[in-house]
């Protein structure tokens, strides 16, 4: 079990941002598990996804649920905290303690709200690098994460290749497709269309954009599941009733399920953070800082890499992950690739997928033994 820690970074020098502007003295909330060894070569950086946070393997303070990757990270788990020192920071722009729109702007003593600068995946990684420096780690043994977490992994490999011994990007892409951007835009518009959003200045209002955020989550949640999984879990089953109501109440189980996903999400997530982080994902293109060339982007990379995809993931499909593998192959890197067969869709990386766990464990342990 790990306590949440908060550190103030960029105290001497501001963190310059891709979109212009900078952040100084920003906070990063993070958790750690296990112990950093004397050689300081056993650290694993876990990067969370869009709505994830630093509670990777400890109970969430708001939902009281197990950490989002508690099946993967822990003593004797695939990422064994008896052996490894695991670090999981909340990204900047997030809402679980790291500097983001709901935190106080030290310059005026008010919440940033939409005055918070638009940030990128690369900005998040630069911020994480300052945390790694602060922890006194020169080379991270392994950087891993799924979905947006995978984008952060790719950015690490591109920006700070000398600091990454190995990497496991999972169910991710080198940039967002038009479809990915469209889905995020749908989510943002539903937040901003909620009159309670109030141009982002709702922190002191008793009206908060909970409906908009909830609909955003419902839409996103559909994209995390596969058609097969939805069909086999819910089909056309009715919710606590035997016949249709001929109303707009939740007749079908799938409606009730999505509403529940939406309602519970708003308790733990900030609407403005959702806008900022989805924007960062849409802007992400690891080749853009390298004249549009992915080969250029990774030409300094020497890390050992395992890429993972899931058969039924249509949000970050196998084809996108294979594109990454192809680039690493072209560079002659030590890259492995595995496609896990499952009907659980994009969400698979957060679920009980024994073959996925076996692959991660095999790769990480053998890589550590050959260190």
């Amino acid at each position: 079990m790990s306590e949440n820690k908060i550190v103030t970074l960029a105290e001497d020098e501001p963190l310059n941002l891709d979109g212009g502007g900078s952040l100084s003295k920003f906070k990063t909330a993070y958790t750690t598990y296990g112990k950093l060894n004397d050689k300081k070569n056993n650290s694993i950086l876990v990067c969370h996804a869009l709505t994830g946070d630093q509670y990777v393997a400890s109970d969430h303070p708001i939902t009281k649920k197990n950490g989002w990757w508690s099946m993967v990270v822990g003593p004797n788990k695939p990422i064994d905290t008896n052996k490894f020192f695991v670090i999981c920071p909340n990204v900047i722009g997030g809402c679980m303690g790291s500097t983001g729109p709901k935190e106080i702007n030290p310059e005026n003593g008010k919440e940033f709200a939409t005055d918070f600068p638009v940030i990128t995946i690369a900005d998040m990684v630069r911020a994480q690098k300052l945390l790694i420096d602060y922890l006194g780690i020169e080379k991270i043994f392994c950087v891993t994460g799924g979905s947006m977490g995978g984008m952060l992994v790719l950015e690490w490999l591109s920006k700070f290749p000398e600091m990454v011994h190995s990497a496991v990007p999972i169910a991710t892409a080198t940039n967002h497709s038009a479809q990915n951007i469209a889905l995020n835009e749908l989510a943002r518009q539903s937040i901003m269309a909620d009159p309670n959003w109030q141009s982002g200045n709702y922190y002191h209002s008793d009206k908060k954009p909970l409906k908009g955020l909830s609909v955003a989550r419902m839409a996103a949640h559909i994209s995390y599941l596969s058609k097969e999984a939805l069909q086999s879990k819910f089909g056309r089953n009715l919710q606590d009733k035997n016949s249709l109501d001929y109303s707009f109440d939740a007749d079908f189980q799938i409606e009730s399920y999505l509403r529940h996903q939406g309602f519970t999400f708003v308790d733990r997530f900030d609407a403005n953070s959702y806008l900022y982080i989805t924007r960062a994902m849409d802007y992400f293109d690891v080749s853009s800082a390298n004249n549009g060339s992915l080969i250029e982007a990774f030409k300094e990379t020497q890390s050992k890499i395992l890429c993972v995809s899931f058969t039924s993931d249509w949000l970050y499909p196998t084809s996108e992950n294979k594109k990454i593998v192809k680039v690493f192959n072209s560079l002659g890197l030590n890259v492995s690739f595995i496609e896990i067969e499952t009907e659980n869709g994009h969400d698979s990386f957060l679920l009980d997928e024994p073959k996925f766990f076996e692959a991660i464990k095999g790769f990480i342990n053998s890589t550590f033994e050959n260190l």
Partner: protein, 205 residues
């Protein structure tokens, strides 16, 4: 079931590969050949394997492996990325042996290819006398369940190399653990070698 006789085949293949070479083993099974070559030749190895259970075994051994198909995934590698490519007992199970061979000599400077020789006298005798598809130690499947799509003889292989302008440099005789320079078709090889093993290359691609 693995058709590879580790002691015999691995040693002959290792003899063809210089120290520190970069090697891709296509259809690398559980990675044991790559492991062997890593130990004895200090190679920089990569694997490709279609069977996920075997991919997992490779990962656990620290072997870099791509879950992939020789028929479709070799295109992902640039020209002459590897010093050597290896294809053992896989050619006959590919959909298009011709394109797989072209890809192998494209992505590597030299390719080592081995396959069961359908011209072996026992196979001919079995067909002739029993009128049944041969089943032996090296060809262990019944006709209706075999993954093997394109059996060929040593002479067929030599003809295909000629057609593709692939140069055969060396041939191996696995039963006697012997390597020799290739000097054209040879009745004894095609009749008595259960396995065809060749070192081939193509400079112009």
């Amino acid at each position: 079931m693995s058709l590879i006789n580790e002691n015999k085949d691995f040693g002959v293949i290792a003899e063809l590969i210089p120290n520190n070479a970069s090697v891709i083993d296509v259809g690398c099974n559980d990675g044991s050949l790559l492991e062997y070559l890593r130990e004895y030749k200090n190679i920089d190895g990569r694997g490709m394997e279609i069977d996920q259970k075997k991919v997992q075994l490779c990962l656990a051994k620290g072997i870099s492996v791509i879950e992939g198909d020789a028929d479709t995934d070799l295109y992902d590698y640039p020209d002459k990325l590897f010093d050597y490519s290896i294809l053992t007992y896989t050619l006959q199970a590919t959909k298009s042996p011709k394109t797989v061979m072209q890809q192998l000599v494209r992505i590597s400077k030299k390719a080592i290819i081995s396959f069961p020789n359908f011209g072996h006298w026992k196979i001919g005798t079995s067909l002739l006398l029993n009128k049944k598809m041969p089943v032996s130690k090296k060809l262990s499947y019944s006709w209706h369940e075999t993954p093997n799509l394109h059996f060929c003889t040593i002479n067929d292989f030599i003809d295909l190399c000629e057609e593709l302008e692939i140069k055969i440099e060396k041939k191996g005789d696995l039963s006697n653990k012997k390597l020799s320079n290739f000097s054209g078709k040879n009745f004894l090889d095609s009749y008595f070698n259960e396995v065809g093993l060749f070192l081939v290359s193509k400079d112009q691609i």
